[in-house]
């Protein structure tokens, strides 16, 4: 296992009012993303525990594009990764943002 942490400035606060959202399952090639609205509006943090060791630079690129595109200000993402491919990671992160921005709890 490898732990990776990324901290980014976000352009704007993520929409919606939900406190948290979870998406995905930890399985081979899959991951779970827990999004929590616990940070100041202009910040974003990702804490990753991944089964695939040695892909730090790929994660960094995926995360940078994600923050640039979705501006998830105020959100902390905790990720348990079973060795998902970058496209799956991007998709789950986007799904997590969509979920927490939905109305509801």
């Amino acid at each position: 296992m490898e732990d990776l942490n990324f901290q980014h400035k976000a352009r704007a606060r993520a929409g919606g009012s939900r406190k948290s959202a979870i998406i995905g399952v930890v399985a081979s090639g899959n991951l779970e993303v827990l999004a929590e609205r616990v940070l100041p509006d202009g910040e974003c943090r990702l804490e990753i525990k991944t089964a695939a060791v040695g892909f730090g630079d790929v994660w960094q690129a995926v995360v940078a594009d994600f923050v640039e595109r979705y501006s998830p200000g105020g959100l902390k993402f905790s990720i348990n990764d079973g060795g998902a491919r970058p496209d799956t990671v991007s998709l789950r992160l986007a799904q997590a943002v969509r979920l927490i921005e939905e109305d509801g709890q």
Partner: protein, 314 residues
């Protein structure tokens, strides 16, 4: 064969009708099974009650340890629910996973009046925490029986991809009633375990038609091990759960004795059969070999006709 209607524009009931229970995640199953918006999770993922063992094996954890527990409403009436995530470590029971279910059942025992739905999806005990997992199975079985003794109905819903194997099969056997779908499987030893221990001549685990006619939902329904058969939709399981909650009676010594008689009868009648098809034939089904191909509605009619479930037993 569902229309590709997007989530956003579908009503929850419509989604429940078009969503495969087999394919859905544990969370999706609960969301669509219960009355819309009624689910409240206990010990949710944000509490990060993860397995204390997996880290030692350098394996990834899941924030809910592969089981979602909580409460919600079914047609307005309160229920306690537990749903296993069959894709995380095959839905296997570990220490935390098991403890969450034990806690739920003990709460039900204390409350006495709120039924429990267990959405099984498990290969059995998690190898990496085998001792804790085995203990959990024993504790859960005890907790099920204590809850039932206190008047709680405990209903098992089985239709996940990992089936209901190992200790899961034992726990299912303790429930007040079970609902099952065609892809659902119930057994203690899995196909690969049987093949490894007894040889491929005894059981070819790659012969999936054999696996399903021996352990699958249709056979379990015809054998009386499952009380209701449903099509593989979340709505189907919701309807099945409601039906079972309606018909399950109180639990006591008489019922246990009746269950013993039922099982002894079953062994006497079918113990010599070599294959599930022989059992179905012995049950009086004409063209028993066609049973696996029957669509759900025709199979349900057939199973209701055979009528092999006893309300007095279990």
């Amino acid at each position: 064969m569902t229309a590709p209607i997007k989530h956003g524009v579908q009503f929850p009931a419509e989604r429940a009708r078009t969503t495969s229970f087999n394919e859905a995640s544990a969370r999706m199953r609960l969301e669509l099974l219960l009355d819309a918006g009624s689910f409240l999770e206990f010990i949710g993922p944000e509490q990060r009650e993860v397995s204390p063992h997996l880290k030692i094996f350098d394996l990834p954890e899941q924030f809910d340890d592969g089981i979602v527990v909580g409460r919600g409403r079914l047609d307005g009436a309160p229920v306690l629910v537990a749903a296993q995530e069959g894709r995380f470590m095959g839905g296997a029971f570990g220490e935390v996973h098991g403890a969450k279910l034990v806690g739920l059942l003990r709460a039900a025992r204390e409350i006495e009046s709120i039924p429990v739905l267990i959405l099984f999806d498990t290969g059995g005990v998690r190898l990496q925490e085998a001792n804790a997992g085995e203990l959990a199975i024993a504790e859960i079985m005890r907790a099920v029986m204590e809850a039932r003794t206190a008047g709680v109905k405990v209903i098992g819903l089985i239709g996940g991809r990992s089936g209901c194997y190992g200790g899961g099969g034992l726990i299912a056997g303790c429930c007040s009633a079970l609902a099952v779908s065609e892809p659902g499987r119930i057994a203690v030893s899995g196909p690969e375990v049987i093949e490894t221990n007894r040889g491929v001549e005894e059981f070819d685990s790659r012969d999936r038609a054999l696996v399903w006619r021996t352990m699958g939902g249709k056979h379990r329904r015809l054998l009386g091990a499952a009380d209701v058969f449903t099509d593989d939709t979340v709505q189907g399981f919701r309807d099945a759960a409601l039906r079972l909650l309606d018909v399950v009676g109180p639990y006591g010594l008489d019922k246990l004795k009746a269950e013993q008689i039922r099982l002894a009868d079953r062994l006497r009648s079918f113990g010599a059969c070599e294959d599930a098809v022989d059992i179905w034939t012995a049950e009086g089904i004409v063209h028993a070999e066609d049973v696996p191909e029957l669509p759900a509605d025709q199979f349900i009619a057939l199973a209701d006709n055979i009528g092999r479930t006893s309300r007095d037993a279990r």
